[in-house]
């Protein structure tokens, strides 16, 4: 009954500021593209150094079906890795919150995973699993994703107020019920923040993992092969696709966070 009033109250004042915030970067981006085009056309910058935006756009149009197919492969790898890493990160953090032994074992392990450069992992995984499978790329993504998800989930699970702790003890709740009724729901905003941070990182990891051999069906491998064949505008076209894919993941993560942590407005009149 109060939902519509809450929704309109929120949507009304929020819409205009967000539009105000959107147009300056858009205008700046267009201006930069125009400037880039003019500089390349009139100063005679060689194409291998910097192709003109119009040349890149032409390549995007020409190679559009390929771009779509390769973006789907890379995006698929990123998504699978993201889901696996997310589930692992949340699960591990839950176990760590419940048992001190798991916590003491997992925390340094995850910190170590944070320090592992993906460029080091990717070639090793590729040789381990062979070059005819997507598994090594997905694994690389999972390793990258697990870290922010684990860290922020663990932080969220630790945010239990003393009064909630006392309450659940007084209610004779089991550790499982404590997790289900208090710890986990309380940690949801933190978990979603972890997901938002991990989503764009998963795309980066999926692309970089392709630079180290294996199947030649993703955006990363197309960028390297186009560049190797001196098809610079074509390489840039795949870079543009990578940027868009990363943005899509970022926005999806942001949207998921907004939807899940949408809190009702304070104190109804």
């Amino acid at each position: 009954m109060t939902r519509p009033t809450v929704a309109t109250a929120v949507a009304g004042p929020r819409r205009r500021p967000s539009l105000d915030r959107v147009w300056p970067p858009v205008a700046f981006g267009i201006l930069a593209l125009v400037l880039w085009e003019l500089v390349v056309t009139f100063s005679g910058v060689p194409a291998f150094l910097l192709p003109a935006p119009s040349a890149i756009a032409a390549q995007v149009v020409a190679a559009f079906p390929t771009i779509l197919a390769t973006a789907a492969v890379t995006g698929g790898n990123a998504l699978v890795g993201l889901v696996v890493g997310f589930v692992m990160g949340v699960g591990l953090a839950l176990l760590a919150a419940r048992s001190r032994i798991v916590s003491e074992l997992a925390t340094p392990l995850v910190s170590a995973a944070a320090a592992v450069p993906i460029v080091a992992l990717a070639p090793v995984f590729t040789t381990m699993f062979g070059s005819t499978t997507e598994v090594p790329r997905r694994l690389v993504v999972s390793v990258v994703v697990v870290v922010p998800v684990f860290v922020s989930t663990a932080r969220g699970l630790a945010q239990v107020t003393p009064v909630h702790h006392d309450l659940m003890t007084a209610l004779a709740a089991t550790p499982g019920q404590f997790a289900r009724f208090v710890r986990l729901p309380g940690a949801v905003p933190y978990i979603m923040t972890g997901l938002r941070l991990a989503a764009p990182a998963s795309v980066i990891a999926a692309i970089v993992a392709e630079y180290f051999g294996g199947l030649q069906n993703g955006l990363g491998s197309r960028i390297t092969s186009a560049a190797a064949n001196t098809a610079y505008a074509r390489a840039w076209a795949f870079v543009v696709a990578s940027i868009i894919l990363g943005l899509l993941f970022y926005l999806a993560g942001l949207l998921a966070e907004r939807i899940v942590t949408r809190t009702p407005t304070r104190r109804e009149p």
Binding site: T2, D166, L167, M168, T169, A170, L171, A172, G186, E268
Partner: protein, 292 residues
Amino acid sequence: MNAVELTGVGKTFDTGARGPVHALSGIELRVEPGEFVSLIGPSGCGKSTLLRVVADLEQPSCGSVVVGGKSARQARLDQDYGIAFQQAGLLEWRTVVANVELPLHVHGVAKAERRARAAELLALVGLAEFAALRPSQLSGGMQQRVAIARSLATRPKLLLMDEPFGALDEMTRERMQAELLRIADETGAAVLFVTHSIPEAVVLSDRVVVMSPRPGRITDVIDGRRPRSGSGPAGRGVDGALPDSALPDSALPDSALPDSVLADEDVDGVRESAEFFAAVTEVREALRKGSA
């Protein structure tokens, strides 16, 4: 059988370098069924610790704690008491009605049954129309009423309350006191109530237990001025619950209430009576003597 029976209870906190702190020492206290007992004293007198010992949230260093004829631990596991803290401690991700249901949810009561019970309790604290809201949409006083409704969910024979009105303004506080008296009257539950307000202790209690710090001990017990409805809980043989006939209805029908309901005027009458001021003076002097 007493609602609470404490014999020789002591509690020592080991603070390490600064040596042990004697939070409680030689506590002897009995709370009868249906009795309202307040614990009052300056900060650090151990009144909250004492309540937490009864709730089995702290373990006593010595002495025996019997709650409704059981060990404190067993009473907690059997959900024999309801508890309310100074903070309402509601879960923001649950609606108001789901917060009231929480104790029943934890103990596996079927959804329809616990929803009905929660609706009945929200009606009891006058918040029926706020059932679907989130806790943060309520004022502080309303949140505390939800917490009290939650503490009643399992129909406990004993209510433990740790300064539940401590954070409320004076007017809200007086209204809540009248409401708590009415609830205690209707449910026939014994109440152990921690406060640092002398008038609050006097108007609510059958007995006011005065405590003093270092070590936390009971220095005096003074009769309070608790107003009662005509019949009183002892004469009704209530098992700490509203009549079961009220259960299936989503709202509490007026007919389910006992004939003589404790009115706000009765409570206000007490607050303005000479006996009330005499008891307030008595408690104040006992507190002063204890801290001297």
